[in-house]
């Protein structure tokens, strides 16, 4: 398991164009928003939590097809299916590697980007907390979507269509927590719900992803 994790991390960092691309995308979305809605700082600070959450979600979405597509093409997945490691564990590791290379950098960079959007100072801690709790769910759900579409040529658009509705609950609770934090209201309820979704998804969804992947490899 550790070897697989280290391999995935190395591949993500060293193979060009993967690591950091999500972060750059996140930055560009943040920069484009003021062009779209105008530079008034009051408006920006009001919509900042939602924009940051949406940006993080889209950045996650863009990198999803990299989780499994390359391994599918070069046959690594077939080897993994024969390995003594259960498929459920392999998918979980894949999701973890995706989170470490995409989700975690987004969480760390989010306060910096929040500065650009003039987020009220009370909002920083809830924003980072909600992203920290929510992005693992995005990775795990995304791995399920990637497993569903791995056998399909040019499945990128289909992947978005399948995964985005599944992101709805995570986005609602995550953005709600960040918004409440920015308004200085108690944000613990949505944070608890978000944590519930994340842990539930981590516990259950790998079984579905593994089942789907087995069907695709068959």
């Amino acid at each position: 398991m550790k070897a697989l994790l280290i391999r995935d991390l190395r591949l993500a960092i060293r193979a060009g164009g993967g690591f950091g691309l999500g972060l750059a995308f996140f930055l560009i979305v943040t920069v484009l928003v003021p062009f779209g809605v105008g530079p008034q700082s009051a408006l920006l600070s009001e919509i900042a939590p939602g924009i940051l959450w949406l940006g993080a979600l889209l950045a996650c979405l863009l990198s999803l097809d990299r989780i499994l597509a390359l391994d599918w093409e070069d046959g690594t997945l077939d080897l993994l299916a024969c390995a003594p490691l259960p498929m459920e564990a392999a998918v979980s590791i894949k999701a973890l590697a995706h989170w470490l290379t995409t989700g975690l950098p987004l969480v760390i960079a989010a306060p910096l980007f929040a500065l650009l959007l003039n987020l009220p100072s009370a909002g920083y801690v809830p924003l980072v907390l909600s992203l920290l709790l929510g992005t693992p769910a995005l990775s795990v759900i995304g791995t399920f979507g990637a497993a569903l579409t791995v056998g399909i040529k040019r499945g990128g658009l289909l992947l978005s269509l399948l995964v985005l509705p599944l992101y709805v609950p995570t986005l609602i609770y995550g953005a709600e927590a960040a918004r409440r934090g920015a308004q200085g209201v108690e944000a613990s309820t949505p944070l608890f719900m978000l944590a519930g979704i994340t842990f539930g998804v981590i516990a259950l969804l790998p079984f579905a992803s593994a089942a789907v992947l087995r069907v695709n490899i068959r």
Binding site: F144, L148, T149, G151, I152, G155, L158, L161, L162, L164, P165, L166, V168, P169, I172, Y173, E176, P190, M193, I197, L205, A208, A211, V212, V215, N216, R218
Partner: protein, 242 residues
Amino acid sequence: MSLWEYANPVKFMALSGRILPWTAWLSGISLVIGLVWGFFYTPDDFRQGSTVKIIYLHVPSALMAINVWMMMLVTSLVWIIRRHHVSALAAKAAAPIGVAMTLIALVTGAIWGQPMWGTWWAWDPRLTSFLILFLFYLGYIALWAAIEDNDTAADLTSILCLVGSVFAILSRYAVNFWNQGLHQGASLSLDTEKNVADVFYQPLLFCIAGFVLLFVALVLLRTRTEIRARRTSALFARERMG
């Protein structure tokens, strides 16, 4: 004699061929009765005026939109557990009907909402969850269309249906948490004494029965088409081999 005998396509074709005309006619008759009675022989509501009559399309279609997904969930489970092909094909056949029902519910709701609420659309929990349900249907159909191998497609869409159901329910409650509602409470529920006033209620029951029967007829028809399409492709494949 058990239900599982109809997992055999030949028996299913025989039975559905006999039931299909009955359900189709009954559905047509009850829809005509319900709609004509509802539109022309019921009084206007004293606050809503004649707009109240859209209830005869809105409530049954909304009801079916959710129940079609439930039916797909059950048939997907049957496919995963017992691997009966008819079941998988029925789920495939039901999805576009579900989309149509969801769209009817959304559109009639918007038409009613414009004079009553003063807006075509509001981010109300019920409206939003229906829109999300619509997206789930679209994803499901797109996945069926994208995969060439039939059994693989049936497997993948069944699992998507299971996972999607859980997330649809999660979204429903998340949306409730997110925004307060503009939509009135449920028009019909089994556990309350009084639902809608009787004048409106009786034709509504006819309309609901009509929509249910219409759905059954359409599913049977579409499933039969799917089975025949499978047979033709099998025949073609055999011809090419021989």
